[in-house]
Structures are given as structure tokens and as C-alpha cells.
């Protein structure tokens, strides 16, 4: 504390030293996320799904596309943990292998969108002038395009509907939203003294963008990544449900699509719907919890407003909480 209040540093987190458990060193940021109960729960859920995805080939008893009319439409049993589809394919295998696809897609889309958003958004904020105008124009163009119709149209017309294509398409739709947010935060950072200091020391623009601004925006960038991650899961599943995805892939959305097409629910067969949807919902929930944890961690603004409210109430002699 100094006698004059230092400016509230929105989004700046002093790096916390990691903790050591035995010989394992846990990095600071992870320790913080673990401490927050919401993000701890989220991390556990996401971690669990990652593990499942990793060991999927080992635990899926049958190839997901194996069909055996003998086993068709069977309710969950020890033999088929999640039951079978109308073609006799094992749903458990479809779900655990679908996890691989989803997580990979989410990470890829998240990665592409975040990198593009961060580089463009932060550079635009720091450089200002023409660079800012051009990038803003680009961002605005992408922002005004309605995402769902765009996705539907692209998916409908795209010959290649592979995983990578889907990731790129989703990233293309979502990057602009994040770019605007990151630009906003970078704008508030760029006139901070330590950034000006780097400038007077002679740092080049690139080193300032990557060395001074970005490292102080990690939590916001991480939040952007998680956001795009879970949206892409939902979008991918949604498109597949509509029949616009890669219908030969092993994925949650595809399983549900076939279930719907074959009117299984009408025949009382809930398992092809419920299990993939549950997997999707739980994964998304986990990601959202992690996101909440990141946001709470990096938002001292909440603290300031509470203080102001309290003092104002005091001045007027009203009862304070």
C-alpha cells in the first residue's frame, strides 16, 4: 500500500509461485484454479473426459461402427454398457471414441480462434492508426455475419467435412468476437507505465505485443480459448444433429442424429439419445466451470464496486450490511 492508492490493475495477475508436493511441482496458475471450488470441479470434469478420450481405444469393447443385427436396439447391459443402436453398434464405444473427436476439435478450434483473435486484437490496440482501422474493419465484417446460418451454409456446401475443416470453420466464425474483447483489454493496458517503459527502453512493437501485453492478458486469453472450445462442441454436435456434419465420423452428435432419424425414442429407446447428450452436457459444464473460475480469479473490478457501495451507504447513514 502506498499513501496514494495505486490504480486498480484490471486483469493483471502477479505470477504466483507454484507449490511443491513431494517432487512434483505444480505451476502457479494451476494452483489458483484448483483453489477456486468452481474451477476445481470444472478441471476434474474436463480432466476426466480427457482421460476417457485418451484410453478410449482400450476401453471400447467393440468397434463403434460394427453392426450386428442380432444385437440391435438393446438396452444398456453389462455387455453393452450404454446399449446398442438400431444397427447393433455399441453406444459406449461411440461415446468414448466420440470424446476424442470432440476434445480434439474443441482444442483445435479454440487454438486457432484464440491465436488469431489475440494477435489481431492486441496488435490493433497497440498500433492504433491504420492497422487498427483495417483490423477493426475485418473484425466487424466477421461479426456481422450471422454465425449459425453461415455455418449451416458452409457445411452444406463443403465437400470436405473433416475435423480440421470443421475446426477452421468454427474458428472463422468465433474469432472476431474474441478479438474485440482482447482489443479492449489491450487498449486499457497499452498506456500503463510498464508498457510505456518498455517503449522508452527501445522495445519493438512485436516484442511489446508478445512480451508485455500478452503475458498480462493470459487469463483473458485462456478464457477466450475455453469459450471457443465449448461453443465448438455445441456447434459441432448441433450441425451433426441436423445432418450437416461429417456423418461418417464417430461422434456424439452423429449418434444422436441417427437416433433421431430412426425414431428410437418413439419406441422407448432412450439410450442412444441420453448417453451422448449427457457426455456433451457434462463436458460443456466442466468447461464453463473452468471459465467461471478464470473470470472470478482475474476480476478485481468486483472488489472495487463493493467498496464504493459500502462507503456511499455509510455517508448516508444507512444500515450497512
Amino acid at each position: 500500500m502506498a499513501q496514494v492508492e495505486p490504480s486498480i490493475e484490471i486483469g493483471l495477475i502477479a505470477p504466483k509461485r507454484g507449490v511443491r508436493i513431494g517432487r512434483i511441482r505444480i505451476p502457479g496458475w494451476l494452483a489458483v484454479l484448483v483453489r477456486n471450488p468452481k474451477s476445481r470441479a470444472g478441471l476434474l470434469i474436463v480432466g476426466f473426459m480427457v482421460v476417457i478420450a485418451l484410453i478410449a481405444p482400450l476401453i471400447s469393447v467393440a468397434h463403434p461402427n460394427d453392426f450386428s443385427l442380432l444385437d440391435a436396439r438393446q438396452a444398456p447391459s453389462w455387455h453393452h454398457l450404454f446399449g446398442t443402436t438400431d444397427q447393433g453398434s455399441d453406444i459406449f464405444s461411440q461415446v468414448v471414441l466420440g470424446a476424442r473427436r470432440s476434445l480434439f476439435l474443441g482444442a483445435l478450434a479454440g487454438g486457432i480462434a484464440t491465436v488469431v483473435a489475440a494477435v489481431l486484437g492486441i496488435t490493433a490496440a497497440y498500433m492504433g492508426g491504420i492497422a487498427d482501422e483495417v483490423i477493426n474493419l475485418l473484425t466487424n465484417v466477421f461479426l456481422t455475419i450471422p454465425p449459425i446460418p453461415l455455418l449451416v451454409v458452409i457445411s452444406a456446401y463443403l465437400k470436405a467435412r473433416g475435423l480440421v475443416t470443421m475446426a477452421i470453420v468454427i474458428a472463422a466464425v468465433l474469432w472476431a468476437f474474441e478479438a474485440r474483447i482482447l482489443r479492449g483489454q489491450a487498449l486499457s493496458l497499452k498506456s500503463r507505465d510498464f508498457v510505456l517503459s518498455a517503449k522508452t527502453a527501445g522495445e519493438s512493437t512485436w516484442r511489446i505485443v508478445f512480451g508485455e501485453l500478452m503475458p498480462n492478458m493470459i487469463s483473458r486469453i485462456a478464457a477466450a480459448f475455453v469459450l471457443v472450445f465449448y461453443i465448438s462442441l455445441l456447434v459441432d454436435a448441433g450441425l451433426e444433429f441436423l445432418g450437416l456434419g461429417d456423418m461418417s465420423a464417430t461422434s456424439w452428435g452423429v449418434t444422436v442424429y441417427w437416433a433421431q432419424v430412426n425414431s428410437t425414442v418413439l419406441q422407448g429407446e432412450w439410450w442412444p439419445f441420453v448417453f451422448p447428450s449427457l457426455a456433451l452436457a457434462i463436458t460443456v459444464l466442466g468447461l464453463v466451470l473452468v471459465l467461471t473460475g478464470i473470470d472470478e480469479m482475474s476480476n478485481p473490478r468486483l472488489r472495487t464496486e463493493r467498496t464504493r457501495g459500502r462507503l456511499t451507504a455509510l455517508v448516508f447513514g444507512r444500515a450497512v450490511d
Binding site: V4, L311, T312, L314, V315, F316, G317, R318, V320
Partner: protein, 327 residues
């Protein structure tokens, strides 16, 4: 509250305040008499604002009082109900904060904030309240018409005057000034302090003046208490402190103000920095920075590093907490 004006207005004894597990105030004794100006000086982290907040009873979690008592006109505040405290605040004791923007609602006109505040404490019509607000602004040297202004339309100095006016609105017995002019320019600061002095003469309230600027206190205060690392290390009448500061920290502080007149001398200030209150130094908290704490003087050194010095009265009105100064 008692209507009889007793001589001692505020009596703080053995006050201990903790924020979580950090003890920000560790055994503070203070008295403020009716109509006197008590200055509380210290640097960042010494706990002076915490003491003020405790007297004003506005400490909020994680801060809580873990020991000691605070009496207003003889009655202990710690046991009071929320409603009694609500009346106490502002009517008996009011506070002027360092930053007016913390106390003023940015989306309300100044006059309306007065009205709100007055009507929370008294039965008064809106019209009368606005009139009174205008009178108060006039009192602090502002144009009455400014009741219609929004805070952001006023300069820093004017905003500070507004909150001083608000602090005086209900004619309290004690006004706490917590770094009231630190964020202001020196000329504005001088104007405002002159005004506060004049108001005090007219209304007769006592003042608890908290600041890091000891030179202001030497000028304005009747008595001064010096705080360091959560404790009071010295307390004396202002004139006595100026002539004969006994505690090495006080002496160091006095040496930290470069002179504007007289010979240009090299000053030394005080080496080191105020301690982290999470783990204060053992014994005398100032000993790591004290020029008189040397291992060579073994017996004294042992005491300085292991035993906390107690506040002892050395001469009438002048107390020091220091192993060196033993009567």
C-alpha cells in the same frame, strides 16, 4: 448517546484489529478530548487508517476487532446494536476520506446527496435539506449554486470541500480526517486546511487528523501520536514533539523532510522499509532500522530484539515506547 459533554470524547484502549490472520493494529491506546486536534502520523501499512475505521465503526470482514475497547463519551462502542451505531456514525462522529470519489455518488447531484444523508438521520423536509446543503457549501467556501452540480463537474479541491461539508452537516463532536488533502495540490491543500481550522473554531468539534505528512501535523495538531507497524511508538503535544522527539523513528521521520530554508544539508532518512505485518520483527518492531540497535551493546540489543517496548510517560503528556528511553 449522552448529552453531557464530558472531557474525554474518545478513549481507545488496547485496540487490536486483524485482517484475516494479519494483525494490523496491535495494542493501541488513544484518547481524544473535546475540541482538540489529535494528529495520527505514520507511513503506509502502519495501521492508522484501520484505527480510524475502528473508531468510526466501519470495519468490515475480513477486518475485525479482536481485542481492546473503543469508548465514546464513556460508552463502549463494541457492544452496540447496528441501529445505535448507525445513529452514532455521522451524528457523533463523521469522516472525511482521502478520495472524495469514494464517498460521492457519481450519478447524483451533490445537493441530493446531502438531502439523502440528512433525511436518513433527521426529520427534515427536502426543501429545508437543500437549503441547509447550500448553507453548508457556503460555509466551506463554495458557491451555493453548486448544490446542483454532479461530482465530476467539480475540481478535486471542490469535491473535497463537499465531503467536508457533508461531514459537518449534522454537527458532530468528532470529525475524522483520513489523509484529506494528500491527493490535492499544495495550494489547494493549504486553503482547505485553513478552512477546516476556521470551521473548528466556529463549531468546536474535535479532529482526528490522519496523515503521513508529519509537517502538517506539527502545524495543525494539538497532540500528535506516531504509529509504526501497528503500534503507537510516541505521543506528545505537537510543540513538544517538534522540540524533543524521543523515539528514533520519529527522529528519522523528522529528518526525512528536506528544509526549504537554511543550509542545504544531506539527509539520511531511514534505511530499510516498514515491515510486513504478516511477520513483524521480534521485540521492538523498529529495531531492524534503528541506528541505536547494534549488537555491540549486548544487553540492550537483547532487549531490543526480544522484548516489545511499552508506551511509558517520560514527561507530562509525552509518552514513548523505546528501550533506549527508560526513565
Amino acid at each position: 448517546m449522552s448529552a453531557v459533554a464530558t472531557k474525554t470524547l474518545i478513549e481507545v484502549q488496547g485496540l487490536q484489529v486483524e485482517y484475516g490472520r494479519v494483525r494490523a493494529v496491535d495494542g493501541v491506546d488513544l484518547t481524544i478530548d473535546t475540541g482538540e486536534i489529535l494528529g495520527l502520523a505514520g507511513e503506509s501499512g502502519c495501521g492508522k487508517s484501520t484505527v480510524a475505521n475502528a473508531v468510526m465503526q466501519i470495519l468490515r470482514p475480513p477486518a475485525h476487532i479482536v481485542g481492546g475497547s473503543i469508548r465514546f463519551q464513556g460508552e463502549d462502542l463494541v457492544g452496540k446494536s447496528a441501529e445505535e451505531l448507525r445513529k452514532y456514525r455521522w451524528r457523533n462522529v463523521s469522516m472525511v476520506f482521502q478520495s472524495a470519489m469514494n464517498a460521492l455518488n457519481p450519478v447524483m447531484r451533490v445537493g441530493d446527496q446531502f438531502v439523502d444523508m440528512m433525511r436518513a438521520h433527521e426529520h427534515i423536509s427536502k426543501h429545508h435539506a437543500i437549503v441547509r446543503a447550500g448553507e453548508l457549501l457556503d460555509l466551506v467556501g463554495m458557491d451555493k449554486r453548486r448544490v446542483r452540480a454532479y461530482p465530476h463537474e467539480l475540481s478535486g479541491g471542490m469535491r473535497q470541500r463537499v465531503i467536508i461539508a457533508m461531514a459537518l452537516a449534522l454537527n458532530p463532536e468528532l470529525v475524522i480526517l483520513d489523509e484529506p488533502t494528500t491527493a490535492l495540490d499544495v495550494v489547494v491543500q493549504r486553503e482547505i486546511l485553513q478552512e477546516v481550522e476556521a470551521l473548528k473554531r466556529d463549531f468546536g468539534f474535535a479532529v482526528l487528523f490522519i496523515t503521513h505528512d508529519l509537517s502538517l501535523l506539527l502545524e495543525f495538531a494539538d497532540r500528535i501520536a506516531i504509529m509504526y507497524a501497528g503500534e503507537i511508538v510516541e505521543s506528545a503535544p505537537a510543540s513538544r514533539l517538534a522540540e524533543n522527539a524521543l523515539h528514533p523513528y520519529t527522529q528519522g521521520l523528522m529528518r526525512s523532510f528536506p528544509p526549504l530554508t537554511g543550509p542545504r544539508v544531506r539527509l539520511t532518512g531511514i534505511p530499510g522499509a516498514p515491515p510486513e505485518l504478516r511477520e513483524p520483527p521480534s521485540g521492538c518492531r523498529f529495531h531492524p532500522r534503528c541506528p541505536h540497535c547494534v549488537p555491540e551493546d549486548a544487553a540492550l540489543y537483547l532487549r531490543q530484539t526480544t522484548e516489545r517496548p511499552r508506551l511509558r510517560e517520560i514527561e507530562p503528556g509525552h509518552s514513548v515506547a523505546c528501550h533506549l528511553v527508560e526513565a
